[in-house]
């Protein structure tokens, strides 16, 4: 019927785990084959549901790590030691298992080629996951939008998608800046401190360029990044944030 939005319910579906990839000691990518995937936008997430034998269920949300153009749906999950769901996803789940999910969810923290740029991606820890979907989308659609990624982790071993990001940087496709807040390898040439105003001033385009900013990570990290960018003169309306709390596992 013309003019009538049809708002179909997002149904739960059992996706088959086809592969998994250990990204770091604490994170694993889960490669999934959902039977009826409607497609997604880079930056969206899914709800995941686990069911115990006695019927007890636990649900959590996870960002999608794959681009819409990728062959499979990929989630990258960080193990939270006191978590209920993430240790299962990272340590127990294996190829051949079924994983129930519902999605995609969320329409704001997304980037599509048509939104333009330049694009400033600011990641703290596993907050890089939805931003990686944007990077892969950027490559898949051969976007010419300039991209910078600022990625903060504790140490080099904690960098997720390290080879892939280095590859993109080597190809000159994106400009990647790392900051390692706890320990740096010998002869490290990146940043070695928590993000601050000066660091963001160096990495970000001048506010007049009106970059689209996507910041994702732990709540304190995102709060700091967004606040510094506003202080530096960036329009708050150009800054999209997604945070994860101390819980969520």
């Amino acid at each position: 019927m013309a003019g009538t939005a049809v708002l179909g319910r997002l149904s739960w579906q059992a996706a088959t785990v086809v592969d998994h990839v250990d990204e770091t000691e604490r994170t694993r990518s889960i490669v999934l084959d959902p039977p009826a995937w409607p497609g997604h936008k880079a930056g969206q997430h899914v709800d995941v549901r686990l069911t115990a034998e006695d019927g007890y269920q636990a649900e959590r949300s996870y960002s999608i790590a794959s681009a819409p153009e990728d062959d499979h749906l990929v989630l990258t999950v960080e193990r939270l030691d006191d978590g209920e769901v993430s240790p299962y996803l990272v340590d127990e789940l294996r190829p051949g298992d079924a994983l129930e999910l519902r999605g995609p969810v969320g329409g704001y923290f997304v980037w599509e080629g048509s939104l333009g740029g330049p694009l400033l991606l600011v990641a703290g820890g596993s907050g890089v996951v939805p931003l990686r979907a944007m990077l892969r989308h950027h490559r898949a659609v051969r976007s010419t939008v300039p991209v910078r990624l600022l990625y903060s982790t504790r140490a080099l071993e904690d960098v997720i998608y390290r080879d892939e990001l280095m590859g993109l940087a080597d190809d000159g496709e994106i400009d990647v800046r790392f900051t390692l807040t706890r320990s740096q390898p010998p002869r490290w040439r990146g940043y070695g401190r928590r993000i601050d105003r000066e660091l963001l001033d160096e990495v970000a385009w001048p506010p007049r360029e009106r970059a689209l900013v996507y910041a994702c990570g732990p709540s304190g990290f995102v709060e700091a990044a967004a606040s510094f960018l506003v202080e530096l003169g960036h329009d708050p309306g150009t800054i999209k944030t997604e945070r994860f709390g101390p819980t969520g596992g």
């Binding site: 319910r9 686990l50 069911t51 269920q57 949300s61 209920e84 127990e92 606040s227 708050p236 945070r243």
Partner: protein, 201 residues
């Protein structure tokens, strides 16, 4: 058919009354933050709260005026669409009933609007009769900016995105209009007990 997750035990919380936890939620003792953009910081002298829209005359309160209205302290459970619930949270604020006292309106809907451009829509009856507050304190402390301070709407019987942070007013409307998250795939009403998270739920 829901498949069993091989090897999944789960960690049921024995210290929580199951009947208080809506479907798909888990109880947390932390207070996670969800916001779409930077935290606004409006100085209190510039702050006001306004009721406008389908009313005979808009009304507005300065920060001091709002704080001089009778306040209530309530202890309620809150439920975020991102799956966490937090039980027995204590808030202090002015009831929306008090702000609407004497307002003559035919409106059936309300849109809460906030610093930073955030909006959320609700049926008027969901913010009246002791079901909603403009809250300025959490646990007897001034509400922190990250959690919506200086003041946020508190509508605990709906998912927490309806409890607009940094709220600056209510617009009474004759027609319903989707707010911010409601335009980005989230449910128009958001009843946690019906698990109305997304469009079509």
């Amino acid at each position: 058919m829901t498949p069993i997750s091989r090897g999944f035990q789960g960690r049921r919380r024995t210290d929580v009354e199951a009947a208080r936890v809506p479907p798909g939620q888990y109880v947390t003792d932390d207070f996670p933050v969800l916001s779409a953009g930077p935290t606004p910081h409006t100085p209190l002298p510039e702050w006001s709260f306004t009721i406008r829209g389908a009313v005979d005359e808009p009304r507005s309160w300065s920060w001091d005026e709002l704080r001089s209205l009778p306040s209530e302290t309530v202890t309620v459970d809150i439920h975020c669409v991102t799956k966490w619930s937090k039980l027995d949270t204590t808030w202090t604020g002015v009831s929306v009933d008090a702000l609407l006292d004497g307002v003559d309106t035919s409106a059936e809907y309300v849109t809460a609007w906030s610093d930073g451009g955030y909006t959320t829509n609700l049926p008027l009856e969901d913010v009246t009769e002791g079901r909603a507050w403009v809250a300025f304190a959490y646990d007897d402390e001034p509400l922190e900016p990250e959690h919506g301070g200086p003041a946020r709407l508190l509508v605990p019987h709906l998912y927490f995105w309806k409890s607009a942070k940094w709220v600056r007013g209510l617009e009474l409307r004759n027609e319903d209009e989707p707010g911010f998250w409601e335009s980005y795939g989230y449910n128009n009403y958001g009843d946690p007990w019906q698990e109305q998270r997304y469009w079509g739920d």
